[in-house]
Amino acid sequence: MTMTIISSPHSARVNRVDQVMVQVCLALIPGTAALVWFFGWGVLINMALATVFAVTAEALVMKLRGRPALPAISDYSAVVTALLFALTIPPTLPWWMTLLGILFAIVIVKQLYGGIGYNPFNPAMAGYVFLLISYPVATTSWLPPDVSELLEARDLSTLSFVDSVRLIFTGALPEGLTWDAVSAATPLDELRTMLDQGKTIDMIRESPLWGLFGGRGWEWVGASFLLGGLYLLWRRVITWHIPVAFLGGLLAVAAAFWLVDPQGYPFPTFHLFSGGAILGAFFIATDPVSACTTRRGQLIYAALIGVTVFVIRTWGGYPDAVAFAVLLLNIAVPMIDQYSQPRVFGHGRGERKKA
């Protein structure tokens, strides 16, 4: 891998992997802040835990593989994986589940395939799905967003930092609280349940869980991640192709069904601003290692993720679907790449490639 550069160009390189990763971390700040605002300290505790676990795991595996650990951890890719993972799990998840998820993500999904650059699946999403399948209840028990009316309605108070730490490390709830009292269904979950009960969208919208165009609180989280995503676009860390195609695909299908049956399907923006759609579109589907590399391929890949998200949310067994959709399309990447190669300069427009 180490090869002295004797060839041109002699220019100073303008990009570096660690800088790219740091940009991604920075772009996560607004979304993280919103999550902390609405869901408490648990989010930050999880992020810190996951980061420590991930970096340690990465270093250990590199040692096992007989390679220097420092270059691997100093590219911050493990940190990004850890942060994204921590943002998708509930803020009250026991610490050992976080550890399991991270170990699965870093050791099995990333390093066993050869480390950074070689993993066919998005490690953070694979780790999350691993937990989701193994511990479905724990990984879907979210707190209600910290919106005063909501809390008043249910007579709750938010968890303090100490409460959160204790909850995560010991599983002990503050005195006088029960899980049923602390946790709440996510808007997507609520929507499914209500629709299954035969309620119309208008009836469902009466619920205090609904905000302006998505789940209450969640819509702000989504908007904050959008802000971070725009930052990534501005810094040219990502290009518009994947986010636009992802959200476009999701919106298009959602809109089609909503137009046909406005009472049976939520307004399209609900899909965007509830759950992980925005985070997925800007931060997860854009993971370069597991995404398509050709421009056309990226459009196809991301649009299909958007469609799959809608399909799973609407007819699948899980309320949210971004992780599943991303992983499903990850495996389609080599094929999409193969059939979406650009026309090379000087080659006729109709010319077929041999490859």
Partner: protein, 671 residues
């Protein structure tokens, strides 16, 4: 991607297109373009390489001890794709020996070393073909081309392809537009900029001459918008020459590598030079501004190419600026003229930072292709450090001006999957360096591509050599078999004739021969029988006399007399010759040695036809490749072997004698 966008430039309303990708680089031109061109001091010694161009090295015409004058021919071209070399000042030849030359390999090459006498006395120059540029219309284009060739003019943007060849696109290739490359897209380099500012009228004169030579209607000079003074100077020159209806300045957005030949043609005309093709195929000839001015010098003043502008720049040199340098002056004299090095120098580069190659020493001569000596500090050219794993981010594909997938090329090149890497069009890579420049993992991508190209050529060559050997073997076997058959047939005929003479005439008629042969035989037999009957005393000697013509007749009928047979062998070898010709010069030469009388005449011609276009095709890669091509693996010349455009049969036809030199050139290049 490559949608058209019309941009209004200052001069006209020319529609500009764009190519895929490209990168915006800090242009760093301000370092060296603020001062006028200076004349480099005349060095006490000039080291003039015999090969400064693509093609066969020139053959030295002077000997050690000879006195030479400025502008005197010191080496003549060998073959069509070659170029002469002239003395850049007067003095005495003190050595003819290999010296280090500016080449990525760092190897030495034969040079003529001249001890200058300081008088700088001119030799007698050929008379100008025209006094003024407007009189050029009266000159035969072929004469002008000959003058360009005799003046040793080669592409001065870096490719150093003989210009007369490019100015001879052939009659079946009507040229619509002459594109003049004044883009100078590489950062730091400003010699074209300064040339356009200070010698704009020379450039316009050259444009008029070349328009006449290639019979093109229009010329467009492409200048990047970071050189407004140059564009203005050209416009003024066009105005004063009153050629505004035929010559136009197009200001194009600054974007590396706009100065690549194919990219510039795309920007200015919207046309794409086909893969492996040459600009003439889309009705365009492209020349660098420096070359254009040199053409004017040669045609209007009779001056050969013995000096050029060189930018000495970079932050590791005290006073960056441009010099008018006699070819053969050592780099160190220019560095010294610029106040020497300043601080820590990280790299000395010949050419620009994107495509130039690293020099081991500054004691190498300036050649016709050297446009810049770039002394970079560690800040300007930091060590990119060890390459990290590719994270598949695709930035390389974003910036690739050829719209390739550099990442896929990298994976396959790394795995030495030469077939796959060619499926991904490796040979459309112009080695501009954009991909490596933006790669966040700092992978030396261009190095991988050069490696894969070299490997592919080597394999191709091996395969050709093997095929050639097999075909030669088969041809030889066939020939021996035929000779044997022939011999036996002759023997048999002889025997039969003898037997026929002894036996009855009917027996002869039964002989197993071709119809025609049988008839002849029959007649001969009848005659013999009649004679026998008449004389009644036939001798064996007489019968034999009758049989002799009979035998050769039969052989002629079957088309394989011993003499013709050699020709047959040649024909059998021929396809092999043309197949191998373009790349496997070495084998070609060997073969010529082995089968001299056979190969000499017929075998070489097709090989020349196969080769010239290839060489031209390589020129097509010019600018960006150019420097890269100079770069070590001689991709350009070798690309020849891969390209198989039949475009330039014309030059081959015009100069059939050149072909064996070509074979030699290939040999030289491959070594």
């Amino acid at each position: 991607m490559s949608g058209l966008r019309s941009i209004l430039d200052g001069g006209g309303q020319r529609k500009l297109w764009h190519f895929h990708g490209g990168v915006h680089l800090p242009d760093e031109k301000g370092l060296s373009n603020r001062q006028p061109i200076a004349d480099a001091p005349l060095p006490s010694q000039l080291v003039i390489p015999l090969q400064q161009h693509i093609g066969a090295p020139a053959r030295c015409r002077v000997a050690v001890g000879d006195r030479v004058l400025k502008g005197q021919l010191i080496a003549e071209p060998q073959g069509y794709i070659s170029s002469p070399v002239h003395a850049s000042s007067s003095g005495t030849v003190v050595a003819i020996e290999p010296r280090p030359i500016p080449h990525p390999s760092g190897l030495s090459s034969p040079c003529v070393v001249i001890e200058t006498d300081g008088e700088d006395r001119w030799a007698e120059l050929p008379a100008p073909l025209a006094e003024r540029p407007e009189q050029i219309g009266g000159c035969d284009p072929a004469v002008v081309r000959d003058r360009v060739r005799a003046s040793g003019i080669v592409g001065m943007g870096g490719a150093a392809f003989p210009s007369n060849v490019k100015l001879n696109p052939g009659k079946d290739q009507p040229i619509e537009t002459l594109v003049i490359n004044g883009a100078e897209c590489e950062p730091y380099i400003t010699c074209d900029d300064l040339l356009m500012r200070e010698q704009a009228s020379d450039i316009i004169d050259g444009v008029r001459i070349m328009l006449h030579v290639i019979a093109a209607k229009k010329a467009v000079i492409g200048v990047e918008d970071n050189k407004p003074e140059a564009a203005q100077a050209l416009r003024t020159a066009i105005e004063s020459a009153a050629v505004g209806d035929r010559v136009e300045v197009a200001v194009i957005p600054t974007l590396y590598p706009s100065g690549g030949e194919k990219q510039l043609i795309r920007i200015l005309t919207g046309k794409e030079v086909p893969s492996h093709g040459i600009p003439a195929q889309v009705g365009i000839v492209c020349q660098n501004v420096g070359t254009t001015a040199a053409v004017a010098d040669a045609v209007l003043r009779g001056r050969p190419l013995i000096e050029r502008l060189v930018t000495v720049t970079g932050r590791a040199v005290a006073e960056p600026r441009n010099y008018r340098v006699p070819i053969g002056a050592l780099g160190e004299t220019l560095i010294a003229a610029s106040g020497g090095y300043r601080g820590e120098i990280a790299k000395l580069v010949s050419g620009g930072p994107m495509m130039g190659f690293r020099l081991e020493t500054d004691a190498v001569p300036i050649t016709k292709a050297t446009n810049c000596l770039l002394a970079l500090t560690t800040d300007e050219s930091p060590d990119p450090g060890p390459a990290l794993p590719c994270i598949r981010c695709g930035r390389c594909a974003e910036v690739c001006p050829a719209n390739l997938l550099p990442q896929q090329l990298y994976w396959h090149a790394r795995a030495k999957e030469l077939d796959k890497v060619q499926d991904f069009n490796l040979f459309d890579c112009i080695e501009c360096g954009c991909c490596a420049h933006v790669c966040p993992s700092h992978i030396p991508l261009v190095q991988y591509y050069r490696f894969a190209k070299t490997e592919s050529w080597a394999r191709e060559q091996e395969k050709r050599a093997a095929d050639h050997a097999r075909e030669r073997h088969a041809a030889r076997e066939a020939r021996l078999e035929r000779q044997e058959r022939e011999r036996k047939a002759k023997l048999r005929k002889k025997k039969e004739a003898v037997a026929g003479g002894a036996a009855a005439s009917a027996k002869v008629g039964k002989a197993d021969r071709s119809t025609k042969g049988t008839e002849t035989d029959k007649q001969a037999a009848i005659e013999a029988a009649r004679r026998r009957a008449a004389e009644k005393k036939a001798t064996v000697a007489k019968t034999e006399q009758a049989a002799q013509p009979q035998g050769s007749d039969a052989a002629a009928a079957s088309g394989l007399p011993p003499v013709d047979e050699r020709k047959g062998a040649v024909l059998a070898d021929d396809p092999a010759a043309s197949r191998t010709g373009s790349g496997a010069g070495q084998q070609g030469a060997e073969r010529q040695g082995a089968e001299q009388p056979v190969a000499e005449g017929s075998a070489a011609e097709p090989s020349a036809a196969g080769e010239t276009p290839a060489a031209e095709g390589s020129a097509a890669g010019e600018k960006p490749v150019a420097e890269g091509s100079a770069a070590g693996e001689k991709p350009v010349a070798e690309q020849a072997a891969v390209g198989e455009t039949p475009a330039a049969e014309k030059p081959a036809a015009e100069k059939p004698a050149g072909e064996r030199h070509l074979a030699r050139r290939e040999t030289a290049v491959q070594e």
